[in-house]
């Protein structure tokens, strides 16, 4: 019988990421949504958000679908470092459960409430199938990074997409990658150097206003605040890591640290 030898690197062979705010892998059978970032808060399921709803599909946390299907992320974890000192990176694997386009813009993660509570981000799925990351500074300046339409779903097919958003601390352009390829760059200059921390519990699955979103499957939802200018970070290395290693937080060396 042929015998091959292979060196493997299990999950615990990688050192913890120094700059990871959260890493919600979304692979569980029950319980609150585990945060793989050491010392960071779990996604605490709302009291009426059942295991059967959240963990309906192996390999994903299924959030939304009802206004009470959300998990809270404590401010100590949800608050982001200032863009005066850190570049923000947010990534996720997202799949909409139903193929239909959202009838309203769905908030999949919210750490600020537009119009009243400022400082944070919103990961959204728009009515034409785009994915969007809103970045709202504590002074209520807002920018967004948006994929092409029909990215998450086109109304006929809902694909799992791997999304990466990069917001350089120095402003200029922010970037979006879909499935490992950079697809969009657009200005984020108006939030350069600004504080992002809102000091509140964020929600996974619905908006902070409690507006229901369609059910979405989330996996590998992760965020980093990296103490480097965006221009000093190899974006392609970040995209590649996230796409190739969906179960692992981004190690420091990918950022060059």
């Amino acid at each position: 019988m042929p015998l091959n030898q292979q060196v493997i690197y299990p999950r615990d062979a990688y050192p913890a990421s120094s700059y990871c705010n959260w890493f919600f892998l979304g692979s569980q059978a029950s319980g609150d949504i585990e945060n793989k970032a050491p010392g960071k808060a779990v996604g605490a399921k709302n009291g009426t958000f059942t295991d059967g709803e959240c963990w309906a599909t192996a390999g994903y946390a299924t959030v939304g679908g009802a206004s009470d299907n959300w998990a809270g992320v404590a401010a100590s974890t949800a608050d982001l470092q200032s863009l005066a000192t850190h570049t923000l990176i947010v990534a996720a694997r997202v799949r909409k459960v139903a193929v239909a386009l959202p009838s309203v813009e769905n908030f999949l993660y919210s750490s600020y409430k537009p119009g009243s509570e400022y400082g944070g981000i919103v990961l959204a799925h728009g009515t034409t199938g785009f994915a969007r990351l809103y970045i709202n500074a504590a002074d209520n300046t807002t920018v967004s990074l948006t994929t092409a339409t029909n990215t998450i779903t086109d109304g006929a097919t809902a694909n799992e997409r791997t999304l990466v958003f990069i917001v350089p601390r120095e402003g200029g352009n922010g970037y979006v990658a879909v499935d490992g390829l950079e697809t969009v760059s657009s200005t984020v200059a108006s939030v350069a150097g600004k504080a992002l921390a809102g000091g509140r519990t964020a929600r996974l699955g619905v908006s902070l206003a409690g507006v229901a979103a369609d059910a979405h499957q989330l996996a590998s939802f992760q965020s980093y605040c990296v103490p480097l200018a965006g221009s000093a970070i190899s974006r392609l290395a970040v995209y590649d890591w996230v796409q190739r290693n969906p179960h692992l937080p981004i190690p420091d060396w990918v950022f060059g640290l």
Partner: protein, 152 residues
């Protein structure tokens, strides 16, 4: 034939050296082979054998958890009526069984993959505390056998 080697006798009697470099006890047990010393085959002592014939699939995983500290594992997947082209996904040290399901969209999360009938020796820099196995199709119980030998 063998030559008696002085000063290496043990409780069983003298040790003999054969022409191929093997040292034998009086009872015939191999004490040492100069051309292939112990553990040269990649499985150091101590070892632990585990096996299963339980069903596996894209949604069902089998988890083996050795009791010792092992950094190597020899995985042998024997066919007993299942698909000869089936693929076995291996994931080490997963936090739970769901995390160990590494089929379809999670395929990049596997640590190794092998085909029915193969054997594979995996080597890990960290102790292997668990191995989760899943497959690319349904493998019903008792139509295959997974034999894993963990080695230090």
């Amino acid at each position: 034939m063998g030559t008696t080697v002085a000063n290496v006798a043990n409780a069983s009697g003298n040790v003999t050296a054969t022409s191929d470099g093997t040292l034998l006890e009086a009872g015939g047990r191999v004490v040492f082979r100069t051309d292939c010393p112990p553990n040269y085959d990649g499985i150091p002592d101590p070892v632990q054998h585990m096996s299963t014939t339980a069903a596996i699939s894209t949604t069902a995983t089998v988890r083996l958890t050795p009791t010792g500290t092992y950094r190597k594992a020899r995985i042998s997947w024997v066919n007993n009526g299942a698909s000869g082209s089936a693929k076995l996904n291996v994931a080490a040290n997963c936090g739970n069984d769901v995390e160990g399901l590494v089929a379809s969209q999670s395929a990049k999360q596997r640590d190794a993959q092998m085909t029915m009938g193969d054997a594979l020796l995996i080597v890990s820099p960290t102790p292997i505390t668990s191995l989760n196995f899943s497959s690319d199709g349904a493998i019903t119980a008792d139509t295959h056998r997974l034999l894993v030998t963990f080695g230090a």
